[in-house]
Amino acid sequence: MAQHQAHSHDSHDEHESHGSLKEYIVGFVLSLILTAIPLIFVLNDIVEGTAANVVLLVTAVLQFVVQLFFFMHLKEEKKPRWNFMALILGIAVVIIIVLGSIWIMGNNEVVK
C-alpha cells in the first residue's frame, strides 16, 4: 500500500498536468519576451498601421500557444486527444463568431 502511494504520484499524472521546473521557467521567460516585443515595438512606434497589428496578433497567438504547451501541458495528453479536439472546436467557434461579426457588421450602415 505504501508502495502504491509512492507510485501514485507519478502514475496519477499521466492524464493531467505534470511538467518540470525547467518547462515552467522556459514558458515564463518566453511569455515575458512575447509581452515585451509588442510593448517595445508598438508603443515606441517602431512599427505602425498594419505591420503593428500583425506584430500584436502574432505575439499574442504565440503567447497563447506557449501557455497551452508549457503551462497547461496540452502536448502531454495521451490519445485519443479529446481535450485537444475540444479546444480546436472552441477555437473554430470563436474565430467564426469574431470574424463573422467583424465581417457582417462592417457592412452595417447603422453601426458605421
Binding site: H7, D10, H12, E14, H15, F28, S31, F71, V94, M105
Partner: protein
C-alpha cells in the same frame, strides 16, 4: 519519461482504474467548461471589436487608457500564472508547505491585479467614462469586467482551497482540485493576453 517506467512496473493498474478514470473525466469536464468560457469571451471580444469606434462623442480608447497600469497588470497576472504552476510542481513532489506558499503568492498577485483594475475603472468613471456613456465603453466594461470577475472568483476559490489544503493536506481529492484551479488560472492569463492586445494595445496604437 519516469512515469512511463513506473507504469510498466505497476502493470496497468486496472484494480484502481475506475477512480483514476473518474478523476481524469472530472478534469476533462472542467476543460470543457473552459472551452465554453472561451466562446463566452469570444462573443464579448466580437462585440467590443465591432463597437470600439462608436464612442458617441465620449472619450476614445487612446484618450482613456493609461498604459503603465495596464502593463503592470499584465506582468502581475503573467507572474501569477507562473507561480500557480510552481504550486503544482510542489504538489507533485508532495511539498505541502511549498504548495500553500506558492498559492498564497498567486492569490496576492491576483488580488493586486484586481485592485489595479478596479482603481483604473473608478478613475475612468470619475473622468466621466461610464458604462452608459457609449457603445465602446459598454463593450469595454463588459469584456474587461467579465475577465476581472473571473479573476475575483478564482481568488475566493483559491483561498478556500488553501484552507482545505491546510486542514486535509495533499490527498487525491485536493490534488485534483489544485490541478483544476491551476488550469483555470492559466486560462485567465491566456484570456488576458488577448484583452491586453486587442483592447489596450490596439486601442492606444
Amino acid at each position: 519519461m519516469s512515469h512511463n517506467a513506473n507504469h510498466a512496473v505497476q502493470g496497468h493498474g486496472h484494480d484502481h482504474g475506475g477512480h483514476h478514470d473518474l478523476d481524469a473525466l472530472r478534469q476533462m469536464g472542467f476543460w470543457l467548461f473552459l472551452i465554453t468560457d472561451c466562446i463566452l469571451f469570444g462573443t464579448l471580444f466580437a462585440t467590443y471589436i465591432v463597437l470600439h469606434n462608436n464612442t458617441a462623442g465620449g472619450p476614445t480608447a487612446s484618450e482613456l487608457f493609461e498604459m503603465p497600469g495596464v502593463i503592470a497588470e499584465t506582468f502581475i497576472l503573467l507572474t501569477s500564472s507562473f507561480t500557480s504552476g510552481l504550486a503544482v510542481l510542489c504538489m507533485n513532489r508532495g511539498n505541502k508547505k511549498g504548495l500553500i506558499g506558492w498559492l498564497i503568492v498567486t492569490v496576492l498577485l491576483g488580488a493586486s491585479f484586481v485592485t489595479l483594475e478596479v482603481t483604473e475603472f473608478l478613475k475612468m468613471i470619475d473622468e466621466g467614462a461610464k458604462i452608459s456613456t457609449s457603445a465602446f465603453l459598454s463593450g469595454f466594461y463588459t469584456l474587461v469586467g467579465t475577465h476581472g470577475l473571473h479573476v475575483s472568483v478564482g481568488l475566493v476559490w483559491m483561498t478556500a482551497l488553501i484552507i482545505q489544503l491546510s486542514k486535509r493536506g495533499i490527498t487525491k481529492t485536493t490534488r485534483r482540485k489544485i490541478n483544476i484551479i491551476s488550469l483555470y488560472w492559466h486560462f485567465l492569463d491566456a484570456v488576458w493576453i488577448f484583452v491586453f492586445t486587442i483592447v489596450y494595445m490596439m486601442g492606444v496604437m
